[in-house]
Protein backbone atom coordinates (compact mmCIF):
# COMPACT_ATOMS: atom_id res chain seq x y z
CA UNK A 1 0.00 0.00 0.00
CA UNK A 2 1.56 3.23 -1.05
CA UNK A 3 -0.93 5.37 0.82
CA UNK A 4 -0.25 6.27 4.40
CA UNK A 5 -3.89 5.93 5.37
CA UNK A 6 -5.78 3.43 3.27
CA UNK A 7 -9.02 4.10 5.12
CA UNK A 8 -9.55 7.20 3.04
CA UNK A 9 -9.64 5.07 -0.10
CA UNK A 10 -13.06 3.55 0.62
CA UNK A 11 -14.81 6.05 -1.64
CA UNK A 12 -12.29 5.70 -4.42
CA UNK A 13 -12.61 1.93 -4.19
CA UNK A 14 -16.41 1.98 -4.23
CA UNK A 15 -16.26 4.05 -7.41
CA UNK A 16 -13.78 1.58 -8.99
CA UNK A 17 -11.39 4.49 -9.39
CA UNK A 18 -8.23 2.83 -8.09
CA UNK A 19 -5.42 1.73 -10.34
CA UNK A 20 -5.47 -2.03 -10.65
CA UNK A 21 -2.47 -2.69 -8.47
CA UNK A 22 -3.85 -0.30 -5.87
CA UNK A 23 -7.16 -2.10 -5.96
CA UNK A 24 -5.43 -5.36 -5.12
CA UNK A 25 -3.53 -3.72 -2.29
CA UNK A 26 -6.66 -2.12 -0.91
CA UNK A 27 -8.49 -5.42 -0.98
CA UNK A 28 -5.65 -6.84 1.06
CA UNK A 29 -6.23 -4.08 3.55
CA UNK A 30 -9.98 -4.71 3.59
CA UNK A 31 -9.43 -8.22 4.80
CA UNK A 32 -7.92 -6.82 7.96
CA UNK A 33 -10.28 -3.90 8.43
CA UNK A 34 -13.88 -4.65 9.38
CA UNK A 35 -14.78 -0.96 9.64
CA UNK A 36 -13.50 -0.40 6.11
CA UNK A 37 -15.53 -3.35 4.85
CA UNK A 38 -18.67 -1.95 6.40
CA UNK A 39 -18.05 1.46 4.90
CA UNK A 40 -17.21 0.03 1.51
CA UNK A 41 -20.43 -1.98 1.58
CA UNK A 42 -22.45 1.16 2.18
CA UNK A 43 -20.63 3.24 -0.38
CA UNK A 44 -20.88 0.47 -2.96
CA UNK A 45 -24.61 0.35 -2.32
CA UNK A 46 -24.67 4.09 -2.91
CA UNK A 47 -22.73 3.79 -6.16
CA UNK A 48 -25.25 1.16 -7.22
CA UNK A 49 -27.94 3.80 -7.04
CA UNK A 50 -25.99 5.84 -9.58
CA UNK A 51 -26.09 2.83 -11.87
CA UNK A 52 -29.84 2.55 -11.40
CA UNK A 53 -30.18 6.19 -12.33
CA UNK A 54 -28.22 5.60 -15.52
CA UNK A 55 -30.68 3.04 -16.90
CA UNK A 56 -31.40 3.29 -20.61
CA UNK A 57 -33.31 0.79 -22.73
CA UNK A 58 -31.11 -1.98 -24.05
CA UNK A 59 -31.75 -3.58 -27.41
CA UNK A 60 -34.08 -6.60 -27.39
CA UNK A 61 -31.36 -8.42 -29.33
CA UNK A 62 -29.25 -8.45 -26.19
CA UNK A 63 -32.07 -10.08 -24.28
CA UNK A 64 -32.44 -12.78 -26.90
CA UNK A 65 -28.70 -13.43 -26.90
CA UNK A 66 -28.47 -13.56 -23.11
CA UNK A 67 -31.45 -15.86 -22.73
CA UNK A 68 -30.06 -18.12 -25.44
CA UNK A 69 -26.62 -18.07 -23.82
CA UNK A 70 -27.73 -18.97 -20.32
CA UNK A 71 -29.51 -21.99 -21.74
CA UNK A 72 -26.08 -23.28 -22.58
CA UNK A 73 -24.17 -22.14 -19.53
CA UNK A 74 -23.85 -24.33 -16.50
CA UNK A 75 -24.15 -22.49 -13.21
CA UNK A 76 -21.08 -22.33 -11.02
CA UNK A 77 -20.70 -24.32 -7.85
CA UNK A 78 -21.68 -22.25 -4.82
CA UNK A 79 -18.36 -23.20 -3.28
CA UNK A 80 -15.27 -21.40 -4.42
CA UNK A 81 -12.08 -23.41 -4.70
CA UNK A 82 -10.22 -24.10 -1.45
CA UNK A 83 -7.51 -21.64 -2.32
CA UNK A 84 -10.02 -18.85 -2.32
CA UNK A 85 -12.20 -20.11 0.47
CA UNK A 86 -9.89 -19.02 3.23
CA UNK A 87 -9.90 -15.53 1.83
CA UNK A 88 -13.60 -15.36 1.37
CA UNK A 89 -14.35 -16.05 5.00
CA UNK A 90 -13.23 -12.59 5.87
CA UNK A 91 -14.11 -10.87 2.66
CA UNK A 92 -17.24 -9.29 1.41
CA UNK A 93 -18.97 -10.95 -1.47
CA UNK A 94 -18.31 -8.17 -3.88
CA UNK A 95 -14.59 -8.17 -3.38
CA UNK A 96 -13.56 -10.02 -6.47
CA UNK A 97 -9.93 -10.86 -7.01
CA UNK A 98 -8.26 -7.77 -8.32
CA UNK A 99 -7.02 -8.15 -11.79
CA UNK A 100 -6.62 -6.22 -14.95
CA UNK A 101 -7.84 -9.43 -16.44
CA UNK A 102 -11.04 -9.61 -14.45
CA UNK A 103 -12.88 -9.04 -17.66
CA UNK A 104 -11.11 -12.04 -19.07
CA UNK A 105 -11.98 -14.52 -16.39
CA UNK A 106 -15.42 -15.49 -17.53
CA UNK A 107 -14.25 -16.08 -21.04
CA UNK A 108 -11.32 -18.16 -19.86
CA UNK A 109 -13.35 -20.21 -17.45
CA UNK A 110 -16.31 -20.28 -19.79
CA UNK A 111 -14.14 -22.12 -22.25
CA UNK A 112 -14.01 -25.00 -19.86
CA UNK A 113 -17.74 -25.35 -20.09
CA UNK A 114 -17.40 -26.55 -23.64
CA UNK A 115 -15.72 -29.68 -22.36
CA UNK A 116 -18.01 -32.00 -20.50
CA UNK A 117 -16.29 -31.81 -17.17
CA UNK A 118 -18.27 -32.60 -14.08
CA UNK A 119 -19.43 -29.52 -12.32
CA UNK A 120 -17.18 -29.77 -9.32
CA UNK A 121 -14.10 -30.23 -11.42
CA UNK A 122 -15.21 -27.46 -13.69
CA UNK A 123 -15.74 -25.03 -10.85
CA UNK A 124 -12.39 -25.97 -9.38
CA UNK A 125 -10.64 -25.48 -12.67
CA UNK A 126 -12.36 -22.18 -13.18
CA UNK A 127 -11.31 -21.03 -9.74
CA UNK A 128 -7.77 -22.16 -10.34
CA UNK A 129 -7.71 -20.23 -13.56
CA UNK A 130 -9.17 -17.24 -11.82
CA UNK A 131 -6.46 -17.38 -9.19
CA UNK A 132 -3.74 -17.83 -11.78
CA UNK A 133 -4.97 -15.06 -14.01
CA UNK A 134 -5.25 -12.76 -11.00
CA UNK A 135 -1.73 -13.64 -9.96
CA UNK A 136 -0.48 -12.88 -13.43
CA UNK A 137 -2.32 -9.63 -13.72
CA UNK A 138 -1.08 -8.34 -10.40
CA UNK A 139 2.48 -9.63 -10.67
CA UNK A 140 4.69 -6.58 -10.16
CA UNK A 141 7.14 -7.94 -12.73
CA UNK A 142 4.54 -8.56 -15.37
CA UNK A 143 5.04 -7.36 -18.91
CA UNK A 144 2.15 -6.15 -20.96
CA UNK A 145 1.91 -5.75 -24.68
CA UNK A 146 -0.88 -4.74 -26.95
CA UNK A 147 -0.14 -5.17 -30.61
CA UNK A 148 -2.36 -4.88 -33.68
CA UNK A 149 -3.25 -8.05 -35.52
CA UNK A 150 -2.32 -7.38 -39.13
CA UNK A 151 -5.63 -8.71 -40.42
CA UNK A 152 -7.67 -6.59 -37.99
CA UNK A 153 -8.12 -6.26 -34.24
CA UNK A 154 -5.64 -6.34 -31.40
CA UNK A 155 -3.84 -8.94 -29.33
CA UNK A 156 -2.89 -8.32 -25.71
CA UNK A 157 -0.31 -10.32 -23.80
CA UNK A 158 0.27 -10.17 -20.06
CA UNK A 159 3.33 -12.21 -19.20
CA UNK A 160 5.10 -13.09 -15.97
CA UNK A 161 7.09 -16.01 -14.64
CA UNK A 162 6.85 -18.26 -17.66
CA UNK A 163 3.11 -17.82 -18.09
CA UNK A 164 1.25 -15.49 -20.36
CA UNK A 165 -2.33 -14.51 -20.83
CA UNK A 166 -3.22 -13.91 -24.43
CA UNK A 167 -6.37 -12.10 -25.41
CA UNK A 168 -7.68 -10.66 -28.62
CA UNK A 169 -10.26 -8.03 -29.30
CA UNK A 170 -12.18 -7.16 -32.43
CA UNK A 171 -10.52 -9.88 -34.49
CA UNK A 172 -11.83 -10.19 -38.01
CA UNK A 173 -14.22 -13.14 -38.14
CA UNK A 174 -12.85 -15.90 -40.32
CA UNK A 175 -14.77 -18.08 -42.73
CA UNK A 176 -15.91 -21.52 -41.58
CA UNK A 177 -12.86 -23.28 -42.98
CA UNK A 178 -10.33 -21.14 -41.11
CA UNK A 179 -9.23 -20.71 -37.50
CA UNK A 180 -6.83 -18.58 -35.50
CA UNK A 181 -4.02 -20.65 -33.98
CA UNK A 182 -1.55 -19.47 -31.35
CA UNK A 183 2.09 -20.56 -31.24
CA UNK A 184 5.08 -20.30 -28.95
CA UNK A 185 7.93 -19.26 -31.20
CA UNK A 186 11.31 -20.46 -30.00
CA UNK A 187 14.10 -19.77 -32.46
CA UNK A 188 13.01 -21.40 -35.69
CA UNK A 189 10.68 -23.74 -33.88
CA UNK A 190 6.93 -23.19 -33.43
CA UNK A 191 5.02 -25.05 -30.77
CA UNK A 192 1.24 -24.96 -31.00
CA UNK A 193 -0.57 -23.49 -28.02
CA UNK A 194 -3.86 -24.33 -29.62
CA UNK A 195 -6.62 -23.37 -31.95
CA UNK A 196 -8.47 -20.39 -30.46
CA UNK A 197 -11.46 -19.89 -32.70
CA UNK A 198 -12.68 -17.85 -35.60
CA UNK A 199 -12.73 -14.28 -34.33
CA UNK A 200 -13.94 -11.73 -31.84
CA UNK A 201 -12.59 -12.11 -28.33
CA UNK A 202 -10.33 -15.13 -28.04
CA UNK A 203 -8.29 -15.93 -25.07
CA UNK A 204 -5.98 -18.45 -23.51
CA UNK A 205 -3.42 -18.97 -20.77
CA UNK A 206 0.00 -20.06 -22.01
CA UNK A 207 2.45 -21.94 -19.83
CA UNK A 208 6.06 -23.03 -20.15
CA UNK A 209 7.33 -19.91 -21.83
CA UNK A 210 10.98 -18.98 -21.72
CA UNK A 211 12.18 -15.40 -21.58
CA UNK A 212 13.43 -15.59 -25.16
CA UNK A 213 10.15 -16.95 -26.56
CA UNK A 214 7.65 -15.08 -28.63
CA UNK A 215 3.94 -15.61 -29.13
CA UNK A 216 2.63 -15.68 -32.65
CA UNK A 217 -0.79 -15.95 -34.20
CA UNK A 218 -1.53 -17.44 -37.61
CA UNK A 219 -4.62 -18.21 -39.63
CA UNK A 220 -4.82 -21.93 -40.31
CA UNK A 221 -7.20 -24.33 -42.02
CA UNK A 222 -10.10 -25.52 -39.84
CA UNK A 223 -8.88 -27.92 -37.19
CA UNK A 224 -5.49 -26.26 -36.96
CA UNK A 225 -2.05 -27.26 -38.16
CA UNK A 226 0.90 -29.03 -36.58
CA UNK A 227 3.18 -26.31 -37.89
CA UNK A 228 2.28 -22.79 -38.97
CA UNK A 229 1.23 -22.72 -42.62
CA UNK A 230 -0.08 -19.16 -42.68
CA UNK A 231 2.07 -16.10 -42.14
CA UNK A 232 2.16 -14.45 -38.73
CA UNK A 233 -0.61 -11.93 -38.27
CA UNK A 234 0.56 -11.08 -34.77
CA UNK A 235 3.81 -11.47 -32.89
CA UNK A 236 4.98 -10.42 -29.45
CA UNK A 237 8.44 -11.06 -28.03
CA UNK A 238 7.75 -11.69 -24.40
CA UNK A 239 11.23 -10.72 -23.19
Amino acid sequence: MTEADPHTLTGVYALDALELDERAAFEEHLRECAACRAEVAELTGTASRLAAAAAVPVSPDVRARVIAAVGQVRQASPFPAPVELAERRSRSWFLQPASIAAALLLVVSGGLGAIALDEHQQARDAQLLTARVSALATDPDRLQFSVPVSTGGHGTVVAAGGSALFRTSDLRTLSDDQVYQLWILRGDDAQSVGVLGRGGVLETLVDGMRPTDALGLTIEPDGGSSRPTGSLVFRVDVA
Partner: protein, 225 residues
Protein backbone atom coordinates in the same frame (compact mmCIF):
# COMPACT_ATOMS: atom_id res chain seq x y z
CA UNK B 1 -45.23 -18.36 -9.70
CA UNK B 2 -45.81 -17.61 -13.32
CA UNK B 3 -43.98 -14.96 -15.19
CA UNK B 4 -45.68 -11.95 -16.56
CA UNK B 5 -43.81 -10.77 -19.58
CA UNK B 6 -43.67 -7.03 -19.56
CA UNK B 7 -42.28 -5.62 -22.77
CA UNK B 8 -39.06 -3.73 -22.24
CA UNK B 9 -40.33 -0.49 -23.70
CA UNK B 10 -43.34 -0.40 -21.41
CA UNK B 11 -41.16 -1.23 -18.48
CA UNK B 12 -38.66 1.48 -19.22
CA UNK B 13 -41.53 3.85 -19.66
CA UNK B 14 -42.77 2.95 -16.22
CA UNK B 15 -39.27 3.27 -14.88
CA UNK B 16 -38.85 6.72 -16.21
CA UNK B 17 -41.92 7.83 -14.34
CA UNK B 18 -41.56 6.16 -11.04
CA UNK B 19 -38.70 4.95 -8.92
CA UNK B 20 -36.97 1.69 -9.60
CA UNK B 21 -37.86 0.11 -6.31
CA UNK B 22 -41.49 0.88 -6.87
CA UNK B 23 -41.31 -0.80 -10.25
CA UNK B 24 -39.68 -3.80 -8.64
CA UNK B 25 -42.47 -4.23 -6.18
CA UNK B 26 -45.27 -3.63 -8.61
CA UNK B 27 -44.02 -6.04 -11.20
CA UNK B 28 -43.51 -8.70 -8.62
CA UNK B 29 -47.01 -8.28 -7.36
CA UNK B 30 -48.45 -8.26 -10.81
CA UNK B 31 -46.58 -11.47 -11.50
CA UNK B 32 -48.66 -13.42 -9.03
CA UNK B 33 -51.82 -14.68 -10.69
CA UNK B 34 -53.48 -15.86 -7.53
CA UNK B 35 -54.10 -13.14 -5.05
CA UNK B 36 -53.93 -9.67 -6.50
CA UNK B 37 -52.04 -7.89 -3.82
CA UNK B 38 -52.10 -4.19 -3.24
CA UNK B 39 -49.65 -2.06 -5.17
CA UNK B 40 -47.93 -0.91 -2.06
CA UNK B 41 -44.26 -0.72 -1.44
CA UNK B 42 -43.64 -2.81 1.61
CA UNK B 43 -40.54 -3.34 3.65
CA UNK B 44 -40.16 -6.90 2.42
CA UNK B 45 -36.85 -8.06 0.98
CA UNK B 46 -36.18 -6.61 -2.43
CA UNK B 47 -37.81 -8.56 -5.18
CA UNK B 48 -34.61 -8.54 -7.16
CA UNK B 49 -33.12 -10.42 -4.25
CA UNK B 50 -35.87 -13.00 -4.35
CA UNK B 51 -35.49 -13.44 -8.06
CA UNK B 52 -31.74 -13.89 -7.84
CA UNK B 53 -32.23 -16.48 -5.12
CA UNK B 54 -34.55 -18.35 -7.46
CA UNK B 55 -32.08 -17.99 -10.31
CA UNK B 56 -29.48 -19.62 -8.09
CA UNK B 57 -31.70 -22.70 -8.11
CA UNK B 58 -31.60 -22.80 -11.88
CA UNK B 59 -34.96 -21.10 -12.38
CA UNK B 60 -34.93 -19.92 -16.00
CA UNK B 61 -38.19 -17.95 -15.95
CA UNK B 62 -36.98 -16.14 -12.84
CA UNK B 63 -33.85 -15.21 -14.73
CA UNK B 64 -35.91 -13.70 -17.54
CA UNK B 65 -37.85 -11.64 -15.05
CA UNK B 66 -34.63 -10.63 -13.34
CA UNK B 67 -33.21 -9.68 -16.71
CA UNK B 68 -36.11 -7.35 -17.40
CA UNK B 69 -35.62 -5.75 -14.03
CA UNK B 70 -31.91 -5.03 -14.24
CA UNK B 71 -30.78 -5.12 -17.87
CA UNK B 72 -31.44 -1.44 -18.53
CA UNK B 73 -29.43 -0.24 -15.58
CA UNK B 74 -26.65 -2.74 -16.30
CA UNK B 75 -26.50 -1.52 -19.88
CA UNK B 76 -26.90 2.09 -18.82
CA UNK B 77 -23.97 2.13 -16.43
CA UNK B 78 -21.73 0.17 -18.79
CA UNK B 79 -22.58 2.51 -21.62
CA UNK B 80 -21.90 5.58 -19.51
CA UNK B 81 -18.41 4.26 -18.94
CA UNK B 82 -17.58 2.73 -22.32
CA UNK B 83 -19.72 5.01 -24.48
CA UNK B 84 -19.46 2.71 -27.50
CA UNK B 85 -22.92 1.11 -27.86
CA UNK B 86 -21.76 -2.10 -29.52
CA UNK B 87 -19.03 -2.73 -27.00
CA UNK B 88 -21.43 -1.85 -24.19
CA UNK B 89 -23.94 -4.39 -25.44
CA UNK B 90 -21.23 -7.00 -25.59
CA UNK B 91 -20.15 -6.33 -22.00
CA UNK B 92 -23.78 -6.19 -20.87
CA UNK B 93 -24.31 -9.62 -22.34
CA UNK B 94 -21.22 -10.97 -20.59
CA UNK B 95 -22.26 -9.53 -17.26
CA UNK B 96 -25.79 -10.86 -17.43
CA UNK B 97 -24.60 -14.34 -18.32
CA UNK B 98 -22.23 -14.01 -15.40
CA UNK B 99 -25.17 -13.17 -13.15
CA UNK B 100 -26.78 -16.43 -14.17
CA UNK B 101 -23.55 -18.34 -13.78
CA UNK B 102 -22.58 -17.03 -10.38
CA UNK B 103 -26.01 -16.50 -8.86
CA UNK B 104 -25.17 -19.53 -6.72
CA UNK B 105 -22.58 -17.43 -4.92
CA UNK B 106 -24.80 -14.51 -4.11
CA UNK B 107 -25.24 -14.10 -0.38
CA UNK B 108 -28.23 -11.90 0.49
CA UNK B 109 -26.87 -11.30 3.96
CA UNK B 110 -23.97 -9.36 2.54
CA UNK B 111 -25.85 -6.82 0.49
CA UNK B 112 -28.60 -6.41 -2.05
CA UNK B 113 -28.78 -8.33 -5.31
CA UNK B 114 -29.09 -5.08 -7.21
CA UNK B 115 -25.85 -3.81 -5.73
CA UNK B 116 -24.15 -7.14 -6.44
CA UNK B 117 -25.16 -6.97 -10.07
CA UNK B 118 -24.41 -3.27 -10.54
CA UNK B 119 -21.02 -3.70 -8.92
CA UNK B 120 -20.24 -6.54 -11.28
CA UNK B 121 -21.38 -4.50 -14.27
CA UNK B 122 -19.45 -1.37 -13.34
CA UNK B 123 -16.33 -3.33 -12.48
CA UNK B 124 -16.50 -5.09 -15.82
CA UNK B 125 -16.79 -1.83 -17.73
CA UNK B 126 -13.96 -0.28 -15.76
CA UNK B 127 -11.73 -3.27 -16.32
CA UNK B 128 -12.37 -2.91 -20.03
CA UNK B 129 -11.24 0.69 -19.87
CA UNK B 130 -8.20 -0.12 -17.76
CA UNK B 131 -7.00 -3.11 -19.73
CA UNK B 132 -7.40 -1.19 -22.95
CA UNK B 133 -5.46 1.72 -21.54
CA UNK B 134 -2.85 -0.10 -19.51
CA UNK B 135 -0.80 -1.51 -22.27
CA UNK B 136 0.20 1.17 -24.63
CA UNK B 137 1.28 4.74 -24.40
CA UNK B 138 -0.42 5.57 -27.64
CA UNK B 139 -3.77 4.83 -26.09
CA UNK B 140 -2.85 6.86 -23.08
CA UNK B 141 -2.09 9.89 -25.19
CA UNK B 142 -5.37 9.52 -26.99
CA UNK B 143 -7.14 9.18 -23.66
CA UNK B 144 -5.48 12.32 -22.31
CA UNK B 145 -6.60 14.25 -25.32
CA UNK B 146 -10.10 12.85 -24.94
CA UNK B 147 -10.30 13.88 -21.34
CA UNK B 148 -10.70 17.49 -22.23
CA UNK B 149 -13.91 16.87 -24.10
CA UNK B 150 -14.96 13.90 -22.01
CA UNK B 151 -15.62 15.94 -18.94
CA UNK B 152 -18.17 18.17 -20.60
CA UNK B 153 -19.96 15.22 -22.08
CA UNK B 154 -20.05 13.27 -18.86
CA UNK B 155 -21.12 16.27 -16.89
CA UNK B 156 -23.83 17.04 -19.36
CA UNK B 157 -25.11 13.51 -19.30
CA UNK B 158 -25.13 13.39 -15.57
CA UNK B 159 -26.71 16.78 -15.20
CA UNK B 160 -29.27 16.50 -17.91
CA UNK B 161 -30.13 12.89 -18.37
CA UNK B 162 -30.33 11.20 -15.01
CA UNK B 163 -33.71 9.62 -15.12
CA UNK B 164 -34.06 9.14 -11.47
CA UNK B 165 -35.22 12.34 -9.86
CA UNK B 166 -34.18 11.24 -6.44
CA UNK B 167 -30.60 10.56 -7.37
CA UNK B 168 -30.36 13.76 -9.33
CA UNK B 169 -31.72 15.79 -6.47
CA UNK B 170 -29.28 14.14 -4.10
CA UNK B 171 -26.39 14.78 -6.46
CA UNK B 172 -27.33 18.44 -6.35
CA UNK B 173 -26.75 18.42 -2.63
CA UNK B 174 -23.11 17.61 -3.17
CA UNK B 175 -20.51 20.34 -3.51
CA UNK B 176 -19.34 20.87 -7.08
CA UNK B 177 -16.03 19.21 -6.39
CA UNK B 178 -17.67 16.23 -4.70
CA UNK B 179 -20.11 15.76 -7.53
CA UNK B 180 -17.50 16.12 -10.24
CA UNK B 181 -15.16 13.72 -8.47
CA UNK B 182 -17.87 11.11 -8.03
CA UNK B 183 -19.32 11.33 -11.52
CA UNK B 184 -16.01 11.56 -13.38
CA UNK B 185 -14.90 8.40 -11.60
CA UNK B 186 -18.12 6.43 -11.75
CA UNK B 187 -19.50 7.44 -15.13
CA UNK B 188 -16.34 8.76 -16.72
CA UNK B 189 -14.40 5.66 -15.77
CA UNK B 190 -11.36 7.66 -14.70
CA UNK B 191 -8.99 6.67 -11.94
CA UNK B 192 -8.76 9.08 -9.06
CA UNK B 193 -5.37 10.17 -10.35
CA UNK B 194 -6.93 11.07 -13.66
CA UNK B 195 -9.75 12.86 -11.90
CA UNK B 196 -7.21 14.87 -9.90
CA UNK B 197 -5.47 15.79 -13.14
CA UNK B 198 -8.68 16.76 -14.88
CA UNK B 199 -9.95 18.85 -11.98
CA UNK B 200 -6.49 20.15 -11.21
CA UNK B 201 -6.67 19.38 -7.50
CA UNK B 202 -4.34 17.39 -5.23
CA UNK B 203 -4.78 13.62 -5.03
CA UNK B 204 -5.65 13.72 -1.38
CA UNK B 205 -8.43 16.18 -2.07
CA UNK B 206 -9.96 13.92 -4.71
CA UNK B 207 -9.84 10.90 -2.41
CA UNK B 208 -11.60 12.84 0.30
CA UNK B 209 -14.17 14.35 -2.04
CA UNK B 210 -15.08 10.96 -3.45
CA UNK B 211 -15.61 9.56 0.01
CA UNK B 212 -17.42 12.60 1.37
CA UNK B 213 -19.50 12.85 -1.77
CA UNK B 214 -20.62 9.24 -1.54
CA UNK B 215 -21.36 9.57 2.15
CA UNK B 216 -23.50 12.62 1.52
CA UNK B 217 -25.21 10.82 -1.32
CA UNK B 218 -25.75 7.80 0.89
CA UNK B 219 -27.35 9.88 3.59
CA UNK B 220 -29.56 11.66 1.09
CA UNK B 221 -30.64 8.45 -0.62
CA UNK B 222 -31.05 6.55 2.61
CA UNK B 223 -28.91 3.65 1.48
CA UNK B 224 -28.78 0.76 3.88
CA UNK B 225 -26.88 -2.44 3.51
Amino acid sequence: MTVLDIPGDIQSDIQSHIGRDVVDERILRMASPRAPRPLVVGDEPSSVDELLTRVARGDGPAFELLYDRIANSVYGVIRRVLRDPAQSEEVTQEVLVEVWRFATRFDPERGSATTWIHTMAHRRAIDRVRSAQASHDRDEKVARRDQVTAYDEVAERVEARLEQQHVRRCLEHLTDLQRESVTLAYFGGYTYREVAEILDVPLGTVKTRMRDGLIRLRDCLGVTT
